[in-house]
């Protein structure tokens, strides 16, 4: 069927307009990140003389400055320790609890399930004072362990909720056949359920890693000494201290902080979006 010429033209004009709008939005989304990258390769003099200019002599000096004098090197190591430890604990504890609360019978299962999930709906900001007091009583203020335990406690609810959605979807015939084979419930979990859940656990782990790597709040309240700082709080410290006017070095620090999560996103985009979209349905 041939379309009349006017209609083809209108269609093309519409597509053209749409392309322009999408391009404009893309530019708005990308531009601030790109500007930061270009700024990180300049000198402060160049930044103030020509904010839009390209670096006349691009160097990585700002990055070394951020890592070394800006304490970003230490902060990256701290963040890796804290994020990876928290993610590991969550990845072990959450699937187990999710399996138990969705596939096994036990007394008070409903109450236990609600207790495990409630934290997802509570703003941790509300309890900052008692949380700090708790860590103080445990002797864990300004320590990585205190931070890790807090991250595990407040990220488990989402992880459990997410894993539950997976375990609920497994056919019960699998569980029945395991029972017939005489496997204990632990063996059933370890030998059958957990291997099946591994891709979902990976999704949870990636989302948790990004969230914890990026977290500012808990680190801001619980950490005191720069040698313990994680990346986001160190970033803020770098912009308010002695190097408060060294915008080009700060730009480099911002990029260093964002590289790990951006790389993860580029590799696991589909998984991350799927997991994040779950927040809408998890509620």
């Amino acid at each position: 069927m041939e379309l009349p010429k006017g209609r083809i033209f209108r269609r093309r004009a519409k597509l053209f307009a749409l392309a322009i709008v999408l391009t404009l939005i893309s530019i708005i989304m990308i531009y601030p990140l790109l500007w930061t990258l270009i700024t990180a390769l300049k000198t402060n003099r160049e930044l103030f003389l020509d904010p839009w200019g390209l670096p006349s002599n691009p160097t990585f000096e700002n990055f070394f400055k951020a890592l070394d004098r800006g304490n970003m090197g230490t902060a990256v190591i701290n963040s890796l320790i804290v994020s990876l430890s928290s993610v590991f604990l969550i990845s072990v504890i959450a699937p187990m609890a999710a399996f138990a609360t969705s596939r096994l019978e036990f007394r008070f299962r409903g109450i236990v399930t609600n207790l495990l999930i409630a934290g997802f709906f509570i703003a941790p900001h509300a309890v900052l004072v008692p949380l700090l007091l708790l860590l103080r009583d445990m002797g864990l203020v300004d320590s990585h362990l205190g931070l890790i335990l807090s991250y595990v406690g407040w990220n488990l609810p989402f992880a459990v909720l997410f894993m539950k959605a997976f375990f609920v979807s497994i056919p019960s015939s699998l569980q029945d056949s395991a029972r017939v084979d005489g496997l204990s419930k632990y063996a059933m979990y370890q030998k059958i359920m957990m291997p099946l859940a591994l891709p979902t656990i990976l999704t949870v782990a990636i989302i948790m890693f990004i969230g914890i790597w990026n977290d500012f709040l808990f680190a801001f309240i619980f950490l005191r000494s720069p040698s313990n700082f994680t990346v986001p709080i160190n970033l803020l410290n770098f912009t308010t201290g002695r190097y408060g006017n060294d915008y080009v070095a700060q730009s480099a620090a911002v990029l260093i902080s964002a590289i790990p999560t951006i790389v993860l996103y580029l590799v696991f985009a589909e998984r991350i979006r799927k997991g994040v979209a779950f927040m809408a349905f998890g509620r």
Partner: protein, 310 residues
């Protein structure tokens, strides 16, 4: 009787008996580690927050002064900044819903309709969400910088130099500037949640619509929009809960200033509890944050669920 008791006791001491006991309690035992974390780090502090909210204290003094509900009356009757922070939270939730949801829905339908370009576009608009809020806040503080900030450089370049100003330092524009950054971060998330919802619609519906000769807009209005209704309700609820969880961006960009005009409840809570060393008052603010964000949101969820599933 004696026999039976010894049987129960001996159950613990044989390997087989122990194994059976452990297996019968497997569900609870496997949930236990998570439960310990929930009780210790979520519910115990939550209970203590309610308790502390009834006291005047300064973190270090051994005697806490019981003041009843004074912290709450002070908050609602005498604390202008707290009331302002509540208004800001409402504005934040309102503008997020009003701006992000329509744009997010439009972008989601476009992405799903033009798959090839759409995939790349989707990847781009979601990118800011994976960058830390502190990094994003710093980047946008520079965007708004009066000397080298791109916003002002752009305005001057296109002849609108009279609009140039220190966006975050100006009491009339600081909040708007923050909202701009908020939308820049979260538009990708809203779009992604919408796409996930639309993808749960069987594609055959769209195919038959196309065969019936529905235009893109008609298709959107007749099929997509009704199916989106529940999602929109969910997104509004997320925006409300999110506004009460808002902290990082405001703390890094303005610290609640200028003249305390950009505080949200969480930043004001932080100021009260940790800068002014009034953990009792801070906890009282926490109680209101909890009630507004948790209780009201749960009620909203229940209300909309029962209405939507009827």
């Amino acid at each position: 009787m004696r026999e039976k008791n010894s049987l129960v006791v001996s159950k613990f001491f044989t390997l087989k008996g122990l194994r059976e006991l452990l297996d019968s309690q497997a569900g609870f035992l496997m949930a236990l580690p998570a439960l310990v974390f929930a009780v210790l780090f979520v519910f115990y502090p939550l209970a203590q927050m309610f308790y502390l909210s009834l006291f005047r204290w300064n973190f270090v003094s051994p005697n806490m002064v019981f003041v009843g509900l004074d912290n709450f009356t002070r908050m609602f009757l005498n604390d202008q900044v707290y009331l302002r922070s509540l208004l800001n939270v409402i504005l934040l939730a309102g503008q997020s819903s009003a701006i992000q949801i329509p744009i997010g829905v439009a972008l989601a339908t476009i992405i799903l309709r033009y798959r090839r370009v759409g995939g790349l576009f989707w990847a781009i608009i979601f990118l800011p969400y994976v960058v830390s809020s502190v990094a994003v806040s710093l980047i946008w503080t520079w965007m708004y910088n009066p000397y080298f900030g791109s916003v002002n450089v752009f305005l001057r370049a296109v002849g609108l130099g009279f609009l140039a100003r220190p966006w975050l330092g100006d009491i009339n524009t600081a909040l708007i500037a923050i909202f701009g950054t908020v939308n820049w971060i979260y538009i990708g998330l809203t779009t992604t949640m919408t796409i996930a919802t639309l993808r749960s619609i069987p594609p055959s519906i769209f195919e038959s619509a196309r065969i019936d000769g529905l235009s893109g807009f008609q298709e959107f209005r007749k099929i997509t929009l009704p199916l989106l209704k529940e999602l929109i309700v969910v997104l509004v609820i997320i925006d409300i809960a999110g506004a009460f969880k808002f902290f990082d961006l405001i703390w890094v960009m303005t610290q609640g200033g200028p003249s305390d005009s950009t505080h949200v409840t969480t930043t004001w809570l932080y100021r009260a509890a940790f800068r002014a060393s009034e953990p009792g008052y801070g906890s009282a603010i926490g109680v209101t944050v909890f009630i507004f964000s948790f209780v009201i949101v749960q009620l909203l969820i229940k209300f909309t669920r029962s209405r939507l599933t009827r």
